[in-house]
């Protein structure tokens, strides 16, 4: 089950983080931060391959005993990370893709809001509600 969803800005600052269990938020902040390592590496790899059209979905970033992290990078270098409990084997790759697509759409809509400055931490309530809903539905 997805336990945490995070958005990371293009300069690697956290934009938004929501997790199911509030008491673990700090730990997820740390984990989300470590995910940047893997995202950056994947981006370098895909840049090396030289294809113009980059796949936004990065797939599995890494898996540890406790969690698995999946990554997604928009064309504006906004990183989206979904963290899943390692014990969960139900969530398939294409379902994760679907969640990423929804998150990407939600982010696009957010950026369309003229009152939101890209790069600032996201405080939009409707955006938060949408992420909460996705977290709840995937668990």
């Amino acid at each position: 089950m997805a336990v945490c969803i995070g958005f990371i800005g293009k300069e690697n600052s956290p934009l938004f983080l929501r997790c199911i269990n509030q008491s673990q938020e700090l730990q997820f902040h740390y984990i989300m931060h470590t995910c940047i390592d893997f995202v950056e590496e994947k981006i370098i790899q895909s840049n090396k391959s030289g294809s113009d059209v980059r796949e936004l979905y990065l797939g599995l970033l890494y898996s540890s005993e406790e969690v698995k992290a999946y990554g997604f990078v928009t064309n504006t270098k906004i990183k989206i990370v979904i963290i899943i409990d390692s014990t969960n084997s139900l969530l398939r790759d294409n379902e994760i893709r679907a969640i990423f697509r929804k998150l990407h759409n939600a982010y696009t809509e957010l950026v369309c809001n003229p009152f939101y400055t890209p790069g600032d931490p996201i405080t939009s309530k409707s955006f938060g509600a949408l992420v909460d809903e996705l977290l709840a539905s995937s668990s």
């Binding site: 956290p14 902040h29 740390y30 893997f38 970033l61």
Partner: protein, 1111 residues
């Protein structure tokens, strides 16, 4: 059990086939020692993988248990026996070799061969029941003969084999006196290796044969044990693939066992051992994925099998050991060349090992805390032996050799585990284990490009240090981590780290660190409630009043820490500085922007400086003072605020401070820079918050990465942290009078007028005139040999007065030239409150157009002013110079000076024809020189040059100086010379009258060295009748003349054509050299012989004839 957690050495070492050597008396026999050394000497790597052990002849080997006929009633008491592996590695050889000194032709052959047989028999008895193979090596001194030739040897060998009951292949001869001992031993070794392999093969077959007698219900342990043993035998014979297969099977059998609370520890320990073998061999077989997958399923299977709830700490210890073991195997494999990737490397396993070690510590501390003190007191210290003395791996010391199915004694069980727990809590250094695992993980993540994962691990390490009360280490680790998280705005981790730092600083009694962390925690960005921040803020203000902060909420009163703080405070004098915090590298609660109001200030102006401050702390604050430090400390008194009323801030208040000062004279021309802005806090103790930097970006306090200030008040304030102090603005005017354009090469007067518009007198006035172009010159006298620049001085110029200078410029090239006038002076002026001498500078640039004054065109002409293409030798000709005035001014010409080549003789003409002439714009004048070329062949010559001296004619009335003439020089064109082959001179009256005869003489002169023959034709025409030779052939000798005389009778009046003369080279001329080109002759004629003459009509009375004619 903790000792069983570590893998036994015999498990970890690479198994080598064991070869026992006996019969070698190493101590007494030199040859035997030599042989022994040759087996055990170096470079083992290149030799068969064997381990040699020297046994005495009377050595007793471990006795083999009698083979069980039936396993029907046998119930195994454990899984793996502790001694079995080391027994086969070190005690029971796969091959035992007896060395015996025996020559084939030994005189005592009979006795010796019997003794030998006896020895073999004895050994065989001792190794009864083992698969050990026996070998006999005869040590001989004589060199061996080829076996086919040595019949005696063949016979005796056969006999020996028979009596010893050895196959012929197990009998060897070692010529021990040979020089090639090493070679022989090498061959022996490979023979032993083969024998070992077959020996171990047999042993493994023997074990496999038991299988049919086992049943699954009772003999689960044996399935595991037997497969393990087979695997081990294969490993001994270096068959890695088979070994791997059997170990895997063994492991599979292990998982099939029924696991209860009683045997779970044993199963886990053994599974770790067998797993170790499986993983190691997988890596060896280059199957890393298989190893990782096997390890993962291993962990999944056992993760939740804790067993006795009390032994949770043991379970975590075991898990940690598994992860760390696998991590090390993985790392070893990488060292041997296995490529690892960022997402799959040993670091992850070390990380888990650390995680489990942390869990272990946690469980241990929790369970220990839950124990009743009486239970601990009543505990006899470990009422059992060490687990390492037990027969089986992984069994409980208080319950050895007990069948797992037997009901266990709960009391003994609990007591035993409690005793272990107590020992773990009191004796084991858990922190070292955690830190060790974390260090391993950190190294791996660093190697695999995961800096942030590394940071996370370091955070955990710092936390562990804090838990284990090693605060110094914790704080050391923390310092760089804070920056790592801060720079990417990960405020929540940053907050937790600051919290940790605060705690460590409190517990280790460090006011400076405590203060620093508290300042950052109070800032806007940290994820803390206002109440918490307010509390922290109170604490930090309290520190400055020597008040000991309260203990962190989650740790109780700590008298030791309180004492440390009291000591620290006691050591500070009143007003001592506890710390200086550089606020622009952290996110503090004051954010500062300091800027000059302009990029430049003039020396006499007041320099303005603004400081904008936002305070984002949780509670009102009152700073003691504010200082702005510039790179010149002299301004410090002007840039400080000491009135603390002005330094009082409400939360989120913005204040602006303005400072003014006058730049000091020595700073004129330099840059002033804001070095730092410092707030002072506190009275009892003092802390400084300093914002500093060397560039504008750094100095904007918020380092662009920190978005904090953008939201409050300071947004959009552009920071200029440097300003330039310019020299005082000059207030003088320089007027340049001149008559443009300048003429090239002339001495061009510039009349300068400096007007002092200052309110004061100016002194030490210097005017520097500089030409920018390299072809220009200036001079302060009317001369034409100036320099690039000239300096003019004036001691003093009274306010409102002017002073004047003349400067003369000379431009060597036409076009635009720049002349720069720079006026420097000093003035005593009162700027601000104090009078001061300032230097001022005034610069003016003049663009000067320069034009060409005259144009000269030279031409050579005949004496009759016909243009000449070549200069004839020995004749007079003229050079004509046409001078044109191109300038807009009338020019007065002084003279034109000809300068001819030495070949050309000039006939002086007195004064230059141009002297004193004034040419208006566009007018032309000619200068003529007559010259002759004395001698010369046909060639090009430089004819010479013409220098014209001139000046403007309207400059006479200049003020007190005389402008010299300028000279313009022109080259005359290059010309060809021509030595004329014939010279013709015609004598003819200036004019004739109609019908009045006149004489014409044509003198033809031969100037050349050779004889000339010519045909002369004189044709008649309408205008004349003539008498004389009409056609004649003439010969002229060198330097001789021929005269042709004619009597002309003009018939018509007017400018009439003379009868044309024609010269021709005779066709009969034999000598072609003498013959002249017809065209040359024609040219000569046309040049020398006049073609026309004026014929006047007759006087009046003679007019009749005219009339008659007209009739």
């Amino acid at each position: 059990m903790s000792s069983d957690l570590e893998l036994p050495a015999e498990l970890m070492s690479r198994p080598l086939a064991l070869v026992g050597l006996t019969g070698l008396h190493v101590e007494t026999n030199q040859t035997h020692l030599l042989i022994w050394n040759s087996f055990t000497s170096s470079n083992r790597n290149e030799r068969p993988p064997l381990n040699f052990i020297l046994f005495g002849v009377n050595h007793t080997f471990p006795v083999a248990k009698p083979d069980r006929a039936s396993y029907e009633w046998y119930i195994p008491k454990g899984i793996l026996k502790r001694k079995w592996m080391s027994k086969h590695l070190n005690q029971i050889p796969g091959v035992l070799v007896l060395f015996y000194d025996l020559e084939w032709d030994d005189p005592a052959w009979k006795a010796k061969h019997a003794e030998c047989a006896h020895l073999i028999q004895t050994i065989r008895m001792k190794l009864m029941g083992r698969g050990t193979k026996l070998c006999l090596v005869l040590l001989q001194n004589s060199a061996p003969l080829p076996s086919s030739e040595d019949i005696l040897a063949a016979d005796r060998a056969a006999a020996l084999c028979q009596v010893c009951e050895l196959p012929p292949k197990s009998l060897f001869v070692l010529p021990c006196r040979s020089d090639h001992l090493q070679g022989y031993t090498l061959r022996l070794e490979s023979a032993f290796y083969e024998l070992c392999q077959s020996s171990y093969h047999l042993s493994s077959r023997a074990i496999r044969s038991h299988r049919d007698q086992l049943n699954r219900t009772n003999h689960g342990y044996l399935f595991v044990r037997h497969q393990f043993k087979i695997g081990f035998y294969h490993e001994l014979k270096q068959d890695v693939a088979m070994a791997h297969k059997h170990y895997s099977q063994s492991y599979a059998h292990l998982l099939e066992l029924r696991i209860t609370d009683a045997n779970v520890t044993e199963v886990k320990i053994v599974s770790g051992y067998i797993g170790y073998k499986v993983w190691r061999l997988s890596f060896l077989l280059n199957l890393p994925r298989e190893a990782i997958a096997h390890f993962r399923s291993h962990m999944d299977f056992f993760r939740l099998r804790v067993g006795n709830p009390l032994s949770k700490f043991e379970h975590h210890a075991w898990l940690a050991a598994q992860f760390s073991t696998f991590g090390r195997l993985f790392e070893d494999a990488i060292e041997l060349g296995l490529p690892a990737i960022q997402t799959q490397h040993p670091g992850f396993f070390y990380q888990q090992a650390a995680q489990q070690a942390i869990q272990r510590k946690k469980a241990c501390y929790q369970d220990y805390a839950a124990l009743e003190q009486t239970a601990i007191d009543n505990l006899t210290p470990l009422p059992f032996g060490e687990s390492s003395q037990l027969e089986f791996y992984g069994q409980r010391p208080w319950r050895p050799n007990r069948l797992s199915l037997e009901p266990s004694d709960m009391k003994a069980e609990n007591d035993g585990i409690t005793a272990l727990l107590v020992r773990e809590r009191l004796q084991v250094d858990l922190t070292a284990m955690i830190v060790g695992a974390l260090t391993n993980a950190v190294n791996q993540f660093k190697n695999h490009r995961s800096p942030r994962m590394k940071q996370y691990l370091l955070v955990q390490m710092a936390e562990e240090y804090c838990r284990s009360e090693n605060y110094t280490e914790a704080l050391t680790l923390l310092e760089p981590l804070l920056w790592d998280y801060r720079k990417d705005f990960w405020w929540m981790p940053l907050t937790s780290l600051l919290q940790l730092g605060l705690r460590c600083a409190y517990l280790s009694g460090r006011p400076a660190e405590y203060f620093t962390y508290a300042v950052e925690l109070c800032s806007r960005v940290t994820v803390k409630s206002q109440e918490e921040k307010a509390q922290i803020f109170d604490n930090l203000v309290g520190i400055l009043q020597k008040r000991i902060p309260p203990a962190p909420p989650d740790s109780g009163e700590n008298p030791a820490a309180t004492q440390l703080w009291a000591d620290q405070f006691a050591s500070f004098a009143k007003g001592a500085c506890i710390t200086t915090i550089v606020t622009n590298t952290i996110s503090s609660f004051v954010e500062v922007k300091a800027t000059f109001t302009g990029k430049q200030f003039a020396a006499e102006d007041v320099v303005e400086l603004e400081v904008h401050v936002v305070y984002t702390g949780p509670k009102p604050i009152r700073f003691t003072s504010l200082h702005v430090a510039l790179n010149n400390s002299a301004y410090l008194p002007f840039c400080q605020v000491k009135n603390s009323d002005e330094l009082e801030f409400e939360p989120n208040q913005v204040r602006h401070y303005e400072f003014e000062f006058v730049a000091q004279p020595q700073d004129i021309g330099t840059e002033l820079q804001i070095v730092s802005v410092t707030f002072e806090m506190g009275h009892e103790l003092v802390a400084y918050l300093r914002c500093e930097g060397s560039s504008s970006e750094e100095f904007s306090s918020l380092r662009s990465e920190f978005p904090s200030a953008t939201e409050k008040g300071l947004a959009g304030i552009f920071v200029l942290n440097t300003t330039e102090i310019l020299p005082r603005t000059a207030n003088v005017e320089l007027i340049v009078h001149h008559e443009a354009p300048a003429l090239r090469g002339e001495c061009y007067p510039l009349h300068l007028e400096l007007f002092n518009r200052e309110n004061e007198d100016i002194i030490n006035v210097t005017l520097t005139v500089t030409t920018s172009s390299s072809n220009g010159r200036v001079h302060d006298q009317p001369k034409i040999d100036g320099n690039v620049s000239v300096q003019l001085k004036n001691e003093k110029l009274i306010a409102g007065q002017t002073c004047q200078w003349n400067v003369f410029a000379q431009m060597e090239q036409p076009g635009k030239h720049c002349i720069t006038f720079q006026v420097n002076y000093e003035i005593n002026s009162a700027a601000g409150n104090n009078s001061c001498t300032y230097k001022s500078q005034y610069v003016k640039t003049l663009e000067l157009e320069t034009v060409q004054p005259v144009e000269c065109e030279a031409q050579f002409q005949t004496i009759q002013f016909q243009p000449l293409r070549q200069i004839p030798v020995g004749e007079q000709c003229v050079a004509v110079m046409t001078v044109t005035n191109l300038s807009p001014f009338p020019l007065q010409l002084e003279q034109g000076v000809w300068k001819f080549d030495t070949l050309l003789t000039n006939h002086p003409m007195g004064n230059s024809q141009l002297a004193g002439l004034v040419l208006q714009k566009g007018e032309k004048a000619n200068d003529v020189a007559v010259l002759s070329l004395s001698n010369g062949d046909n060639r090009h010559i430089r004819t010479g040059s013409y220098t014209l001296k001139w000046k403007r004619s309207n400059q006479m009335k200049a003020e007190g100086y005389k402008i010299p003439y300028s000279a313009s020089s022109f080259d005359l064109p290059e010309m060809e010379t021509w030595s004329v082959p014939l010279r013709i001179h015609v004598t003819l009256p200036a004019h004739g009258y109609v019908r009045e005869p006149m004489n014409m003489a044509i003198v033809i002169h031969n100037p050349g060295p050779s004889y000339i023959e010519l045909d002369v034709y004189m044709s008649s025409n309408d205008a004349f009748m003539f008498a004389g030779n009409k056609q004649i052939k003439i010969q002229i000798y060198p330097e001789d003349d021929y005269v042709l005389k004619y009597n002309l009778y003009p018939l018509l009046s007017g400018f009439v054509a003379l009868p044309p003369l024609q010269l021709k080279t005779p066709t009969s001329t034999i000598d072609p050299v003498v013959a002249m080109d017809q065209s040359v002759l024609d040219e000569l004629v046309s040049r020398y012989v006049p073609t026309h003459i004026y014929v006047l009509p007759q006087a009046k009375e003679k007019g009749k004839t005219n009339l008659l004619r007209s009739e």
